[in-house]
Symmetry: C2
DNA sequence: GTAAGTTACGAGCGACGTAAAAATG
DNA sequence: CATTTTTACGTCGCTCGTAACTTAC
């Protein structure tokens, strides 16, 4: 039986036209390649080249062999890529969330429960979450609403309540609570990569000019240094505290108070069970 | 890059269940196989087996790898078989004929003209001839009638006239010529492998009992030794002479006088041109 | 104790590179 | 004379088999 190495060589010879060029491309001496091709011909019991003293070219057999060789090599490459994807799947849990804050707790929990497994997380829109869950791109997704569907396991994770973060001298800073629309039209600081919140802000405050900040650290500095209103939430405050020069006022709209749900395919529930158990106990 | 040898080994291990069995099937020591599989895992950068001290079994990766390996090996085998068929095609001319006698001359002619090429011949029925020509199983066929068709080249080869071969004391042995039906009902000697003649005899002499003889030499001996009528032809007589104790009487039916035609696909005509030229000159 | 798998070690075969030869333009 | 291919030859490395060790039934 011939070997893949020889098929690769055959294809390279076909592509480059001469043994010398091919040998160079293959990081091989030219005589070695010459012998290897002779051996391939022996093993196939068929001549593959038209030989003319100091010139060589594929004959009809060689052309056909090359085409088949390409196929075999392509499938071999497929084997490698697919097997590595499969392996990776088994050693990683991909979690996608509609918002960043749930991951702050969930990712460390998963890492603690599955120490051998890499936890990869990403923020995506609701549609992408469900599509990715369906296509097994994500083993678990965090949604801002429950989903009852066959073959989907859905369990409550926790709440998040949104606040305006206002400087003390803001006209509305004394209020007990405020609707979105009360600040609509002003200029606000906004962090990017906040998932569904972004869409919500734009929808509820269409006249507001948002200064989008990509970096978390830079965003924090801007909040401290400027008098521009921004958003925060109970989860953020609990974790990072509140900026000293800020007053946090709850947002009264119902949409500003979300409950997050963890979703996974039913056939993944068993694998994730330790996580769901721990969730229930806390 | 892994090698086909390793894929073959993986499949064998999967099929036999243990390394030891597989090693035996592969004519390899068990430690060598163990190492080879470890190397495959290294090269794929993926574990393929569930190892339990003195037991080994494919894991999920291994199962998938095995399926891909099967595909790759099947295609590799395809490469071998198809390339050999192609090669054979280039080094042989397959000629099929409706009757044996034309081949007596044609086969040596082809061998002389194409000394590098193997001439393979076979006797087939008319339908099989045309089908085989169409499917490129035969590069040339000899038919007892012309065929005008697109992409088919057709040229006359020669005639054959059928004779009854009768013992001198046969009641009809003095006739100048005889129709088939004049001997219908008698018992006759008949050689097998005579192509379309066989069908013709049965059709024109439905009441005759034919003693079929497979072997040419045995047939000749029977003709000499017995008083049973048989067939011969001008071509046979010219080549092998007539048995001394026989009188040959032409058969008067029009079907007993055939003209043979050489047919080939138009795209093969160029390749066979030297043959057709020589045919024309003789 | 037998059967299976891994590790260790030494040997042989095969593939490689260098060198040389032949042929072409 | 440069380029390309094939053949010759010596070396190195890889894979093999044997042997030893471990574990399980």
């Amino acid at each position: 039986m011939f070997e893949l190495k020889q098929l690769k060589q055959l294809v390279t010879v076909a592509e480059s036209g001469t043994l010398s060029k091919a040998a160079e491309l293959l990081h091989l001496s030219q005589p070695a390649l010459s012998r290897s091709m002779q051996k391939l011909e022996e093993e196939l019991q068929v001549s593959l080249f038209e030989r003319q003293k100091n010139k060589i070219s594929l004959n009809q057999n060689g052309e056909m062999a090359m085409e088949y060789a390409r196929k075999v090599l392509r499938q071999s490459q497929d084997l490698i890529t697919h097997i590595r994807v499969l392996d990776r799947r088994q050693h990683t849990i991909s979690v996608a969330s509609c918002a960043p804050t749930p991951l702050w707790e969930i990712k460390p929990m998963l890492s603690a429960i599955f120490p051998e497994i890499t936890i990869s997380t990403v923020i995506k829109g609701k549609n992408q979450l469900l599509q990715g869950l369906n296509e097994d791109t994500y083993q678990m997704v965090i949604m801002p609403e429950p989903l009852i569907a066959p073959d989907i396991y859905c369990t409550k994770y926790g709440d998040e309540h949104l606040y305006f973060s206002l400087p003390p001298d803001h006209p509305l800073s004394g209020c007990k609570e405020l609707p979105f629309k009360s600040l609509d039209g002003e200029t606000m600081l906004l962090l990017s990569q906040i998932g569904f919140w972004h869409d919500l802000h734009i929808q509820k405050m269409p006249n507001t000019h948002f200064l989008i900040q990509e970096e978390l650290f830079a965003f924090g500095e801007l909040v401290k240094a400027s008098a521009l209103p921004s958003f925060t939430s109970d989860i953020i405050i609990k974790r990072a505290g509140s900026a000293s020069n800020r007053i946090n006022i709850p947002i009264s709209d119902i949409e500003a108070n979300v409950t997050y749900y963890c979703l996974c395919k039913s056939n993944q529930k068993k694998k994730l069970l330790p996580f769901f158990e721990k969730l229930k106990n806390e």
